[in-house]
Amino acid sequence: MGGYGDVQMIDENGLRMDGRKPEDCRPIQIETGVIPVADGSARVIWGKNEVIAAVYGPMEAHPRKIQRQDRAVLDVRYNMAPFSTSDRIRPGFNRRSREISKVTAEALESVVLLELYPRSKIRVEIEIICAEAGTRCAGITAASVALAHAGIPMTDLVVSVASGKVNDVVVCDLNKEEDNYGEADLPMGILPNTGELVFLQMDGDLSQEEFKTAWDYNMEAAAKIHEEMARALKGGEA
């Protein structure tokens, strides 16, 4: 996507720059209850990404015009800390964080049983502490764990993971270099128990076969990440 197609990112043995095989995911660690004052919270450390999500609510929706008479609204805010990348990020909303907040809210709306809380609001705050490609996926994953931790009823967790293409090889869970200099990126939001899809974006070009491979990689990775999410929720803090 960066237009540097000649950067060599897969070695002669088919391994990636950080030693992973194409289908491998970065190591992931999830813990709950990291923000004691919040109703629910989670921290996801995924490779070098670090994300904290906090959930407050359900509470009365303000301003009144955002209230829905038949269901709750999800107020999602995705934000990158100014120090999360080597280039300082100007604090506050920008075009990118607005877009990610919107797609995250839409992905989570399909699992949360919003109709149980008419006229209310559920506030989801996602803060990126350290960014190394794939923060929107880490953010959605953290937010869904935090929602479950807050006791919000939901039909399933949402696992989000991205696959992409570098040097014409489809690889799972891109790191920073692969994201910057690769040719495509396909983040997906998956419901692990049913295999349904609640979120899909694509940047760059993938052929039909490549798309299929990326899809399969994402599905496999989602199953592994879901195990870690369930472990965090079931065995986590008291």
Partner: protein
């Protein structure tokens, strides 16, 4: 058994769905994080955390958050404030003079009279023992852990009152009013928080 949202809990032909469980295509599915309870007929989930949802006749401790000429707004720990109309408030209130009876920040023991379809509720102070609280402290616990505070037939609560020589009122919204002398209050409060800590641990570190 501890479950996360989306976990499959078996076929719906064997068991009825209880709290936190739904049926999808003949399968029982968890929608909350928590511990399952199964009495042979119904499978439910004892959640880690619940938001208080008011029901008619609940005894609640509310905090005055605002008022108009004839209505007080009470924070009862639910997603929405409850309203306390002048006609259901303390006897001496008069139109426009609500502030002289109960001001912002005052705490009241009241009952939920009515809950509307859209979750807004009406509180009342007409009833025995319902009044403004002028002494003591209010401690909050998760509403689903109230059963542990009270104990079977009120045993835990009775012994807590006895040991610390305090008056304790447990409200359904998870707020607990403790009154007595200073030492008694602080002892009761410490015991209560300790009880909550063990309750949470036994829920999550218990019989895995």
């Amino acid at each position: 058994m501890l479950v996360a949202p989306g976990d499959d809990l078996g076929s719906s032909s064997d068991l009825e769905p209880g709290h936190g469980v739904i049926v999808v295509d003949g399968r029982l599915k968890a929608v909350k994080q928590g511990r399952t309870t199964n009495d042979g007929k119904q499978i439910g989930i004892q959640p880690r955390r619940t938001a208080y949802v008011p029901r008619p006749s609940d005894l609640v401790i509310g905090c005055v958050e605002g008022m108009t000429n004839n209505i007080w707004f009470l924070d009862i720990g639910a997603p929405f404030n409850a309203i306390l109309p002048l006609s259901l408030g303390p006897a001496k209130g008069s139109f426009g003079g609500l502030r002289t009876v109960m001001d912002v920040g005052d705490t009241v023991l009241c009952r939920i009279q009515e809950v509307e379809e859209n979750h807004s509720s009406v509180a009342t102070m007409k009833g025995m023992g319902l009044r403004k609280l002028k002494s003591g402290i209010v401690e909050s616990v998760d509403p689903h852990l109230l059963g542990r505070v009270i104990g079977s037939k009120g045993s835990n609560l009775a012994s807590l009152k006895e040991e610390t020589d305090t008056r304790i009122t447990v409200a359904d919204n998870g707020r607990i009013w403790i009154d007595g002398d200073v030492d008694g209050i602080s002892a009761a409060r410490e015991k209560l928080l300790e009880m909550m800590e063990t309750a949470k641990v036994s829920e999550y570190r218990g019989d895995e």
